[in-house]
Amino acid sequence: MQLATTRMRRGIPSMLLYAFLLPLFSFNMQAGTVLEPPQVTVSGTVTDSTGEPLAGVNLVVESKNIGTMSDLDGSFTIQAVPGDILIFSMVGYTSKSVVVMGQDAIKVSLEEDVTQLGEVVLNAGYYTVSERERTGSIEKVTAVDIEKQPISNPLAALQGRMAGVEIQQTSGLPGANFNIRIRGRNSIRSEGNDPLYIIDGVPFSSATLGEANASVSLPGQGISPLNSLNPNDIESIEVLKDADATAIYGSRGANGVVLITTKKGRSGTTDITLNTFSGMGSATNTMELLSTPEYLEIRRESYANDGVEPIPDNAYDINGTWDTDRYTNWQKELFGRTSYLTNVQGTLSGGSQQTQFLISGNFNGQTDALPGDHHSTKVSGLANLNHKTKDGRFSAQLSTNYVSHTNDLPYSVSLVLEGLLTPPNAPELLDENGGLNWENSTWQNPLRHLESTYRSSTTTFIGNARLVYKLFPELELIANLGYTENHLKEDRTELSTRYNPAFGRGSEFSYVIQNMGRRTSWIVEPQLSWNHDFGNTRLSALVGASFQERFSDRLSLRASGFSSNSLIGNIAAATTLDIISDVDRTYRYHAIFGRLNLNHKGRYILNMTGRRDGSSRFGPDRRFSNFGAVGLAWIFSEEALVRQTLPFLSFGKIKGSYGTSGNDQIGDYQYLDTYSFGSLQYQNGFGLYPTRLFNPDFSWERNEKMELSLELGLFGDRIFFTGNYFRNRSSNQLVGIPLPATTGFPSISGNLAATVENQGWELELSTLNINTGKVRWSTSINLTVPKNKLVAFPDLDGSTYANELVVGEPLDIRKLYRLNGVDPDTGLYEFHDFNGDGEITSIDDRQVVKSFSPEFFGGINNSLSIGKFQLDLLFQFSKQMGWNFWREGSIPGSVANQPKAVLDRWQTVGDMATVQRMSLGNTLDPLLAYYNHRNSDAAVSDASYLRLKTLSLSYTLSQKGKSGMGCEIYARGQNLWTLTDYFGLDPETMNNQTVPTLRVISLGTRLTF
């Protein structure tokens, strides 16, 4: 310690900015200078293999702490002594060392690094590991790929790029959620399957702060907090999949871990990058619906079928009240508008060997495909600062990220469904004055939904500091500190103008629901890391602790009784204010974790990780639990025998891992015996009700993961193959254990001896097809064949899950009637009577099991560069089943448009048809048959698709290194083309009640100064 303090005293203050940001460290640690032999000035140039000058190449005098960097023209000068070794290095190039022999001009040319396998460093959360020597399963996507997509949610960037990671967009509306499943669904509770998100070392809650009464516009859980990240600020996203990688996250690693790292400055020249793109988007698909004559025909037929004569006065669509010659493409009108997208990103980065910084700002504006004027506006800023003392003993990494996002949407989700169902000859939307046309009260104008609006404003702050101090050469003390703050304000405004004015409803029918949510969290993680080389064996050890607290509170109000609609913007003008909810939640979490890694001869690697976790979500006796994993890897290509006999094998590794991780996503305070304040009032007072049957004894869900994998590199890794087999079993399922209602509650939270298994194969192949100086073409393919299975569930038949789950089947199944076809005599759908009782009844006759879990999914990525052109094509595919259009909609023959498929309908006795006879929906038999049809296997069909997810073409006009300004222009497309047989709007969302994913085309430029 004596040595260290002396050095500190000798430190000189430097870097004003740094001092400003971190006043704690008013000193600077710097290496001492020792007597040196006389120095000479060495200068020279660095180029790439084609002779182009390389700027920003790191240049270090080996064994000394002196370094510099090459300039724009590749030139450098440095002080050295003859005999010194200069090391030139740069990301993407093979390092080179040159001995100073007294020559005054050194010319160095660096080779591009083709394989980079050894250099690719993966972030494993608490530690980093090289791609080559990893024992765990970690997938990585970097900025290069993320930036090629005009997206606003970072999860979109992972789609189709990672084996074992299934991602689905839930809607084409801005701000919508993405469903992510890493190696399948582990928990029976549908809400307990999210991975753990860590942004720059800080856990980030993906749970919405929304209020159910306010945020219905978006499917799933309302607005996604992950939208509050700017994809352009992300350097890399790593997904941890297996036990070896996730066990160190213990109780929260069961569903995988997503590590997001923001961009950091690099030493070298100061760069200003200005990246702008704008684009247009529209729905990827619309359905083929009936034309007006076809529609009128089936409507008239249904009156005849139901024996209703004459056509009544209220059959406006066919009795002449509406123009029977009109035709409107309602899909185009109601969700087929063009959305616009603008993104401007400015980045300033640079730094010296010791200090690097990056500051960026981003504006992202989007409109949606719905009619009306809706904007999603996101403004974000990122500031990162890294500093290392000259002697390398102390380093600090600071990052702050701020995002403000405002999103306007209509409140109702019905516009899309009405786009599908509105009769093709329905009247004009607007009257001659531009107001809503109610056509003498003969219809419900779909645009009335625009009178109900939803606006969310989110602000997110993420701050992180990582401080590392080398106590001894091999021992580092690390502190990871983080703070996040998340605010959400939602306003749902329902104006009385959404009603037909004929009803005379005034502002007393208007109301506002306002929700204000806030979440703050902090984390402190002290760690010690020790690395030691025993000669043949390298040892890395890490121990650490984690303290976390997350606090959230939410206040939701309903304001009504406005004397005029014009006052509705201010809830102070409301005469009635009701509090919907006023809640707060505290979650605390504590852990001790460790890692021990042994690497023998760079061939045999053993990695052990463990964690002891405690969470406030469990009862006093059940708070703590232990998790751990072992990973083993053997790089057999390093064995002499293999090298001799299989010379074409450039890399070969077998690895395996086994371990446990857990899941505590059950909500806070579930173990407590409490009463809650109800929303029901009696005699001017609120009620208190028992919150739950309490069970102080429930504990973690346990996930046991096993993986075996093989990695092969052939011909200098130009062909690289990875194959994984995994089997995860999630037991001790945290569920509501079903109870008879005589206990007062349907269930009690507890651990059930139910087991869910996910197993599967993940195959990845990447090839470098062509690599000449000018042309480079590489391909990577990934394929996942997952299998999800409920292995055990005691007393399933008696539980509330009886209609949802079947032992031996996946979790995502539906139990359905079996459609036998249309009875040629009655013209009605006929279903198989499984229990033979002569009636079609739930549950007994819903015996057909259809799984919605994908059979396989993956992606194919091609990257081609020819000179200054760069072309990237990413296809994504999934083989799966899903609800089709028959699940939604309205009974064929009623006042609703239908898909063309209804034309093959039953008309007279003896007809063999696929659709039952047209009916108005007022007679019981056709109606029951229709409802059963919605719940039959006919409503589920193939939803497989192959989609050109991303197409990116860019052209480099000039490079900064040569002309002082780099300029790249590019065109990018998202979801440009889809191959599918899906009967419905979009096989990805599988939801006909929301906007399908958008096809987006954008153009942009990227300037670097």
Binding site: V543, A545, S676, L680, Q683, N684
Partner: protein, 462 residues
């Protein structure tokens, strides 16, 4: 020298690690958190009368809005009105209600589950209150009344369950392990426990004359007791209990038929007040039809059973027309929308029923003149001529007819009457082809039988 350095370094390593471990131990307390502001512990609730009041308030609000006696379309009044011969469903889209109307209720029916689940859910809440109060020895303020209300509510909830489902478990503990394996009890045993609770409640409850008669009091317990005796044909006790209430109770028959369901009616024994100032009843919202087409209408049979000149036909039956067809709807409650001040509340017990209980019990015992006295009090205020029947069988029939009119669409009275008189099949079969003898009981929810086989067998016919 080098060796010494190494040793020192090793000690330092060890020391640092030791310090590190030390910091971590004793951190277990860190994961303890305080309660959130919207929840309080069960223990704290029963320390204070105010919070016990709040726990009871929630039960009343549930009875009004969600559970068995609610005036919503999932309450006993509406559903059993369709199940019997009071209401006729017009909207075929209301599929699950059509199963009630068609007497095709399945053990998986949502409404059946709702009756059962919400019923037992509230029984749990009431049992918590009883246990909580009884375990508190600190002399709670108003302890007797709170406990009395809880006992009354336990009996009241079981009363509906036993009449809908037949043999049921009578739940008097909060222990979920016990309640998971309970068996069904014969109806007589259920009634016996119910009576014990009511006697306890009657003894504990004060005579309630508070604002709006929003809480059950001594006389409410007596009224339910009278009804319970009547249902068991314990005529003597039914007559005594009802008679005492009529004479000693602080109620009187409201003479204007149109005013019986107003908030201030002197006839009301217990009613549920709305959830907000100026709110009125769910019944009003459910039944009143402002423009065609209504979801449901009164059956022709019920309309036909009104005698000419019955004031109740005029005041309690509403009509709506599209020009060609007229639909009739229950109009006992006149307000569908909020008013400046609350004018109507959902009445659960009123004196009119007690008159008819007394009339029936007296008739059954052969006391024709006493019976006629009660019956004619009801008939007279409906502006009908007094009944002059002399034989008790004819009188019983007249009383049943009177109950049909007086109590229509009020909490399943009609259906329960048909059942206890053994007349359901005879009366309902002609208009309801699907009616079977076994339809007198609803099925126990299938999920219950699956989780707790002790509840087997299912009611016959399901």
């Amino acid at each position: 020298m080098k060796k010494t350095n190494n040793t020192i370094q090793n000690y330092m390593y060890l020391g640092t690690f030791a310090l590190f471990i030390l910091v971590y131990s004793s951190c277990e307390k860190f994961v303890e958190v305080d309660l959130p502001k919207d929840q309080i512990t069960g223990e704290a609730v029963f320390q204070d009368s105010g919070t016990i009041e709040a726990a009871l308030r929630n039960v009343y609000a549930e009875l009004r809005d969600n559970a068995l006696t609610t005036g919503e379309s999932y309450g006993v009044s509406y559903l059993m009105g369709h199940y019997a011969d009071e209401l006729h469903l017009l909207d075929p889209n209301l599929g699950s209600i059509s199963f009630f109307e068609g007497n095709n209720v399945l053990p998986t029916n949502d409404f059946v589950n709702r009756f059962w689940d919400r019923g037992y859910g509230l029984i749990y809440a009431v049992n918590r209150i009883i246990e909580g109060i009884e375990n508190n020895d600190d002399g709670l303020e108003g302890k007797d009344r709170l406990l009395g209300e809880a006992y009354f509510l336990r009996a009241y909830l079981h009363f509906y369950l036993v009449n809908l489902f037949g043999p049921i478990p009578y739940i008097d503990t909060t222990d979920y392990q016990t309640n998971t394996t309970v068996s069904r009890m014969p109806q007589a045993v259920v009634y016996q426990q119910l009576e014990e609770d009511l006697l306890e409640a009657k003894a504990l409850l004060p005579i309630y004359d508070g604002p709006d008669r929003a809480r059950p009091g001594h006389w409410t317990a007596a009224a339910l007791l009278a009804r319970t005796y009547l249902f068991q044909e314990d005529w003597d006790k039914a007559a005594e209990e009802a008679g005492r209430l009529i004479v000693e109770g602080n109620f009187e028959l409201e003479q204007q038929v149109g005013e019986i369901f107003l908030k201030g009616s002197r006839e009301t024994i217990w009613q549920l007040t709305p959830d907000m100032m100026g709110g009125n009843t769910h019944e009003g919202r459910t039944y009143i039809v402002e423009q065609p087409l209504p979801d449901t209408e009164l059956t022709q049979g019920l309309l036909d059973s009104f005698e000419a000149g019955d004031a109740r036909r005029l005041h309690w039956v509403g009509a709506v027309s599209d020009g060609t067809t007229v639909w009739y709807f229950p109009f006992k409650y006149k307000l569908a929308a909020p008013t400046e001040e609350t004018l109507e509340c959902s009445v659960l017990f009123r004196l009119g029923e007690l008159y008819l209980i007394a009339a029936e019990a007296q008739a059954a015992m052969g006391n024709v003149s006493e019976s006629l006295g009660y019956l004619n009090a009801i008939r007279e205020r409906a502006l009908l001529p007094p009944s002059e029947l002399t034989d008790s069988a004819g009188l019983m029939e007249a009383i049943l007819r009177e109950r049909r009119i007086e109590l229509f669409t009020e909490h399943g009275h009609r259906f329960f009457d048909l059942k206890r008189k053994g007349m359901a099949t005879e009366v309902l079969r002609p208009t309801k082809p699907n009616w079977d003898l076994t339809d007198a009981l609803l099925p126990v929810p299938e999920s219950e039988l699956l989780i707790n086989p002790n509840l087997l067998p299912q009611n016959e016919g399901y």
